[in-house]
């Protein structure tokens, strides 16, 4: 395990070194990402210019959800964002080269890159987080601080697992990436807002089956000490770590299945 981490560290630092070779381009990319991400929050602000509350949520509370979602997603994008290139790896034979090496394929694919320019998105999430804190009156204690940190990490894990799960479709069809995007980016958009806004079937599909509601909504209810408009049991607020683990298990199983298919069906 430690060895794997060390190898991951080396491979990823190689990728980062490549990216930082073009310093100015990189900085511009980061700034660009920050601004593009800000568009989504501009929408939130404009909405709250027109209404004082979205459901039972105030602008600060929605900003809190948004920030958790944005930071989790940015972290996930750092680590697995380049999976939208899986299609390319397969097409160009790079994936075959990975099958020649004495390491797991998922490990190698994940180690192949690290999207440092998503820093722009992370910073935007942090900015919104700071804004949320300035507007809200949260009664911080050790539990809530830990929960916030844990949530961002678990959220990142959940997003990553979902990404891995849906991107496996490229082993069957060349055009799969765009469809996979609908779930990941759709999921991220969904989690920026309180999920009680959505209809029940949408919540069930994109909130529970694809467990997006555990990225921000449920944990946030705990930190904000807020009553759940959906009236669901409070143990859900602490379930993110378990959900993250289950998501990873599912993603791993799907990957193994997909690669087995690839090795049988041929390049």
């Amino acid at each position: 395990m430690g060895d794997a981490l060390a190898v991951y560290g080396r491979l990823v630092s190689a990728a980062i070194r490549s990216q930082l070779q073009y310093r100015l381009s990189f900085v511009l990319d980061v700034v660009g990402m920050f601004l593009v991400a800000s568009l989504d929050f501009a929408a939130v602000l404009i909405i709250f210019h027109n209404v004082p509350r979205l459901g039972t949520f105030s602008v600060g509370e929605v900003a809190f959800l948004y920030a958790l979602s944005a930071m989790s997603f940015a972290l996930a994008e750092f680590v697995v964002g380049h999976l939208d290139l899986l299609n390319e790896y397969v097409r160009t034979g790079t994936f075959d080269v990975m099958l020649l090496r004495p390491r797991g394929t998922l490990f190698q694919v994940v180690s192949a890159d690290f999207r440092l320019r998503r820093l722009g998105q992370l910073l935007q999430g942090v900015a919104v987080f700071v804004y949320a804190l300035s507007v809200l009156d949260i009664h911080w204690n050790a539990g809530r601080v830990a929960m916030t940190l844990l949530t961002v990490i678990c959220g990142a894990v959940i997003f990553s697992a979902v990404w891995v799960f849906v991107i496996c479709v490229v082993f069957w069809t060349v055009e799969g990436t765009e469809t996979a995007n609908a779930f990941t980016y759709g999921g991220q958009f969904l989690t920026q807002y309180p999920i009680d806004l959505y209809s029940q079937w949408l919540r069930r599909l994109l909130g529970y089956a694809i467990p997006m509601s555990f990225v921000a909504y449920f944990p946030a209810l705990y930190v904000l000490d807020k009553e759940d408009p959906l009236g669901l049991p409070s143990f859900l607020r602490f379930s993110s770590p378990l959900v993250a683990v289950v998501a990873v298990v599912f993603a791993g199983a799907m990957w193994r299945f997909a690669v087995r298919h690839y090795r049988s069906a041929g390049g």
Binding site: L28, V36, L39, A42, I47, N50, V51, L54, G186, F189
Partner: protein
Amino acid sequence: MRLDWELARRGYRRYAAYPAATVAGLFTNTVFGFLRGYILLALYRHRDVVGGYDSADALTYVWLTQGLIATIYIWGWQELALRIRSGDVAIDLARPVDPLRAGLAFDFGRAVYHALFRGVPPILFGALVFDLTAPSNPLVWLAFALSVAFAIGVSFSWRFLYNTSAFWLLHYRGATVMAMILANLFSGFIVPVAFFPGWLKAIAYATPFPAMVQMPIDMFVGKTSGIDVVEALALQVFWLVALLALCRGALAAGVRKLVIQGG
């Protein structure tokens, strides 16, 4: 004229060649339609009218924008910039075809394909699931269609314009991203311009961007009616002409630079 038609056909066919990509994009557009629909609906829990829109108007706005995403194509078009960077633009300039006009024709062909296959389906789907509004007056439908046509032109001209930044900027990507962000926000793609705070709304209408999305939609949901429709159409034409003129100028300046520097 014949050439324009040929180019438009090519534009249509280029995108028709990838039906799987179209379906995938259609799926994404529909998913986001649902998400945005419910988010905006939440505004109407305690109020009947927001920014002059009722809930049916707001939902119609959502599904129209989702349908128009591909048709108007505000996101990420960098073909011209890439051709300028690679030098291929020299080939285009050497041809006896005006690149701006050719691009416009090609884009219209593309827009027709996208309107048919990524525009109509989500709107119909949204109409099935939600209660949308639609104009009762056939003239309004006509005005809407005309408005969308102008919107496509305005969008293309803007894309063409910010792509020409590649003639001068090494890191043109920064400029293109900024240009896209401005267009996205002020066109009313993200939230209706009617929802903007007063000062932001004023800024928006001082730009060509609402002509890309908001104006046709406002005609459709009836926010713009009667003589205002004609006024809006005229305003779209104004922006179209203005942007095209700017494109002309930018292209000429870019060509001059190329010739001088032998780029």
